[in-house]
Amino acid sequence: MAQNGTSVSIQDLSLSFGVISVLHTLNLDVAEGEFVVLLGPSGCGKSTLLNCIAGLLDISEGRIFIKGKNVTWEEPKDRGIGMVFQSYALYPQMTVERNLSFGLRVAGVPKDEIAKRIARAAEILQIEPLLQRKPSALSGGQRQRVAIGRALVRDVDVFLFDEPLSNLDAKLRAELRVEIKLLHRKLQNTMIYVTHDQIEAMTLADRIAVMKGGVIQQLDAPQTIYNRPVNRFVAGFLGSPAMNFMDGRLEKDGGDWHFAAEDVRIPLATYAFEKEPTPGPAVFGMRPEHVAFNSGAGWPFAATANVEVVEPMGSDTLVWLKLGGQNFTVRVTSERTPNNADTVSIGFDPMRASLFDAQTGSRL
């Protein structure tokens, strides 16, 4: 990735629909050639943000720069962007092929070049047999692929993808994910990508922006976001199955910090605090997949518990236990699936945990 400058820069962006304020003084800098994924709960303003970047919504305040140019009042077509809409927005009266070629024809790309690009996009998206159909004769996933294709064929600096793979099956999604990654490698263009699929987010993103209620909570590399979420919301939002949260207290025993909840005392010697902690209520977070299951001793923290529920999920199984009087889940590979009411031993390294302030929810 050639991170040689800022490609998209959003400064103090605010937007409201009438009385409903959707984005609040939002700032976001995307480097050139970077792949940024927007994650966030439904209705948090992701599509709205993309629309603002594309110049399709009147922003209420702030400025938007693309490639160093202030495009706040620029036409969408002058911003050098391509976009995939969450709602597809295919041109109903055009065949798939014409849908794909429309932008190119507008730009005056030569005929054979158009044909070449369409052929390539159609191949990637596996929509060759559909090229002569109209959108109304396509299935949901096929429509979505056409919508992606419409962006892919264009040669622009910035791609905006709004949940481009949500209606596709896992297999195709995996394939297209790879294709998008390759395309990105090849074209080196900037991508801003909205998705709800965490695998997509983790595998594609250079950086992930986690949004909530129109505010970016954290913007960081995927692993950082995953391992060191800045607040409880981010921690809980990412990861499936979700992180375990345990309410308790932070206590200092001699020189060592501990986390205490009912009968459970977790030593925090290996935990890297953000800043010097103070004793008091706190929330302890631990991902289900970071918990070792029936794997012997040697863990800084170990315990035994009774299995309450077993939830098979295909490749893995989720085991529900009670720890410190609270629900606690552990992810277990299928072959090691215990039975209900079995007593099992667990262990983990608090290094992998996340501690949050009980009030503000921010990382400790």
């Binding site: 629309n51 077509k77 976009m83 709602s87 597809y88 109903p92």
Partner: protein, 311 residues
């Protein structure tokens, strides 16, 4: 999953017909009570609509003596096509006795460009008002709609003065302009309201695709406005083809449309009226709009934005 299982859970008494399984395959186009009612309504309505045209046709095939007898609904005793021939070729309008035919070409000459230009203008207006409203645009539109309520005769004077001052009075361009002007309010309304129902995402997508004002209009919006364009064509073709008032004043003597002749054949202050010729002439004049209604019908396509967006 096998047929055996199915029959097992299908007690024979529940579906006594063969193999105990009941309806199979596509639903037959059965004639339900609802459908009968529907057709009944349509046919009754159609009959109501057809009464006058029946009388017109019957009358146009009668001779004047038979008409004077006044048996309106009777079929012609001795059908004659003379009135039709007269209407088209021989009826007198002033000193010329060439029937309706001479004005036909003029009518076409006026109607085609007027319809095309007025619809293009109006659809651009509707499109701009919906997707590109600039400050004051809607106020202008309000004025336009307001103008639709003015009786023509009121605006005719300023228009005459205006057009003659630019030298377009009594000319083909003049009449085309006039038709465009008077078609504009309603047509603009027609298109504006139609475009307002189109999902705005389509417009957004086209803008991202780099298309500008005109290209979005011609490539995206216009093809989607088929049904409403048909309505516009119906309105305009009828209005302009049947127009008489403007044609006679603004088109100039050499361009007088067919309706002037129709009016002359049909109307007279103190002269003798030949009802059979009148009827034939009226039907003949209406033939072009009627043809257009019939042909344009198939463009009333269904689901114009189907598959375009979800939500």
């Amino acid at each position: 999953m096998t047929a055996g299982q199915i029959t097992a859970i299908q007690p024979a008494q529940e579906a006594p017909d063969q193999a105990g399984v009941g309806p199979l395959g596509p639903k037959p186009r059965r004639i339900s009570a609802g459908r009968i009612g529907l057709y009944a309504f349509l046919i009754v309505a159609a009959l109501f609509f057809l009464i006058p045209v029946y009388i017109m046709i019957v009358t146009s095939l009668k001779g004047m003596p038979e008409i004077r007898l006044g048996h309106l609904f009777n079929l012609p005793g001795e059908p004659t096509f003379q009135p039709w021939a007269d209407a088209w070729l021989h009826a007198c309008t002033g000193r010329d006795c060439n029937g309706l035919s001479p004005g036909f070409y003029n009518s076409v000459k006026i109607t085609v460009p007027s319809v095309v230009i007025s619809i293009i203008c109006a659809s651009i207006n509707g499109y701009a008002l919906t997707f590109w409203p600039y400050k004051g645009a809607n106020f202008l539109f309000g004025l336009l709609v307001f103008g639709a309520f003015v009786p023509y005769q009121v605006v005719i004077y300023p228009l005459i003065i205006g057009l003659s001052s630019v030298g377009l009075f009594a000319s083909l361009p003049g009449i085309i302009i006039v038709h465009t002007i008077f078609g504009m309010p309603i047509l603009t309304l027609l298109f504006r309201n139609f475009y307002a129902a189109i999902p705005v995402e389509l417009f957004k997508a086209a803008r991202v695709d780099g298309a500008g004002f005109w290209r979005i209009f011609f490539h995206i919006m216009l093809p989607m406005s088929l049904p409403i364009t048909v309505v516009a064509v119906i309105l305009q073709v009828t209005g302009i083809w049947n127009d008489f008032l403007f044609g006679i004043v603004f088109a100039g003597r050499p361009n007088w449309p067919m309706t002037v002749q129709l009016n002359n054949i049909v109307n007279t202050t103190t002269g003798v009226r030949e009802y059979n010729v009148n009827m034939a002439a009226t039907i003949l004049t209406a033939a072009v709009p009627l043809l257009i209604y019939f042909i344009s019908g198939r463009w009333f396509v269904r689901g114009i934005a189907a598959g375009a967006v979800k939500g």
